[in-house]
Symmetry: C2
Subunit: 318 residues, 2 copies
Amino acid sequence: MAGIKDIAKEAGVSISTVSYALNGSPKVTEETRSRILAIADRLGYVPNAAARMLKVKQTKIIGVFLADYGGYFYGPLLRGMRQALNEKGYELIACSGVQSHRLLLEKVIDGGIILDQAFTDEELLNYADKSYKIVVLDRELVHENIKGVLLDNITGARLAVRKLTEHKVNKLYAVTGPVGSYDSKKRMEGVREELQSFPNVELVEVQGDFLKDSGEEAARQIFANYREPIAIFCFNDEMAVGIYRYLQDKEYEIGKDVFLVGFDNIELAQYMVPRLSTISYSSYEWGSMAAHNLLKLLANEPAENEQVEVTITVGGSS
Amino acid sequence: MAGIKDIAKEAGVSISTVSYALNGSPKVTEETRSRILAIADRLGYVPNAAARMLKVKQTKIIGVFLADYGGYFYGPLLRGMRQALNEKGYELIACSGVQSHRLLLEKVIDGGIILDQAFTDEELLNYADKSYKIVVLDRELVHENIKGVLLDNITGARLAVRKLTEHKVNKLYAVTGPVGSYDSKKRMEGVREELQSFPNVELVEVQGDFLKDSGEEAARQIFANYREPIAIFCFNDEMAVGIYRYLQDKEYEIGKDVFLVGFDNIELAQYMVPRLSTISYSSYEWGSMAAHNLLKLLANEPAENEQVEVTITVGGSS
DNA sequence: CTGTTAGCGCCTTCAC
DNA sequence: GTGAAGGCGCTAACAG
């Protein structure tokens, strides 16, 4: 492993000259610089990140913390982040699980983007106090070192409810996410707000956990005492798929006996028959905004909390 | 940021004692150890990864390089890796894009798992020569520092062809992956092998790229001169979905006019109507095997190339 | 059992 | 423009 001193010896100069040359300092002749670069190249020199880190105190790596990978949802989200970061010479790595929190703590990464309930608010605020820079995608936190980029859940939920109430139904079921989920809480708020315009529609809350099985289970409960057309707002598409699954060998017809709207517009949504109506947004954009915000934080530029706009995509399910 | 010396001063001992205590060396009294730990804790001490890295020359982080995230495929794969790695005190990070290769080079990570054509064989062999430890999931490479964990593509392809040839068809279309894809190449080999038993079936190769659109495009070509029932083996499910999409407003019926088998058994496959027949395997297992193999490499234990078994999942599409 | 000390590889003031 | 020297935070001999 050729180091900076190897190439210094080879070039017959001192190591500082090499360092300057490598880092493009104007203190070295263009001529010696190119000679040094050539040698470095020939020796297959690669700077040691650990050593530089120790001195420079930044790694140019930022980490995104996810509860879980998988799901078409993450592709564009991460691509949006990576794109924005690479432009500024930063690298993106994806981390998961509580063990990986050490990467932030030990300064392996310069900043973190959080989309993972495994972090508690206290933990994050604690980091922020120690001047770690953080962008959160799944909660609202007030701290100068933390900025949020959040979905406009309220509008999304209102759009969904508005669509569902176009049909004459007396009951609207809301299949929620897990307790503690910020997105779920906000969506429920939106539902309540919008329903104020429909006082004759009864709201029934069914606890879910954003996973398909819970959607199926919710459907089981809901249809146990089905009497007349109903509306269901599933707080994400995945659970809506669970409802399709439950209904596939039942007599009820989606879009006729039951009206359904999901959230996220996952790829699967368009293949469901009938197509699932859902709340859409650009997760690429979301990722990009998150990254830009973090970059501002790192550069000590003023950063604001931001919101991701949503629209409704209407299919045959509603 | 409290450092090791701060806590040494606070405890009235030398920094080495602190270091020993922190690292659980038996050279320090249980009593002073706990006292030191208490102080470290009180001061909110967090070891600086960069400093230790520099000394210990390992980060206990391993990286997996993916062409792209997204797709349900990756969830279990990464979970399998992470599980295996965490058991041994290693962290997993997911990287993407050529820029991130530096993480391996600069020794930010102790080893790499490769599932990304963005690495050339030469590049990997070059790293291996410099004693970087690598596990590849998408190619065969012979080097003591590189081990492969590969799908049994040949068996998979043969199973698919065997299934498809149960019907009396005169033509078998193979929709391939991009040129250069190892998996695609091997699957084609399997197809050829199995077809030797069916000399009267004509093989037609259609170039794809593993993405849905190419499946749709392939279908367009294939059905341009449809005359009689045909068989299609799509080298992955995603392209098969493209074929479903193409056919959705056509007169041809999947499972009757055209028999279709995919590869990967992605989640979507089970929702297609009729259900897509496909070659299945456990990607969790795949990830786990890859991680274990890399751990062996890192521990300088003997490691072997391994193979992931596949089975066929039969749906109405064939 | 604890303290002293010498680096790990690189960057960066300082003199020259 | 170039070289010498110190130090980032931590580990691990080697003494005591």
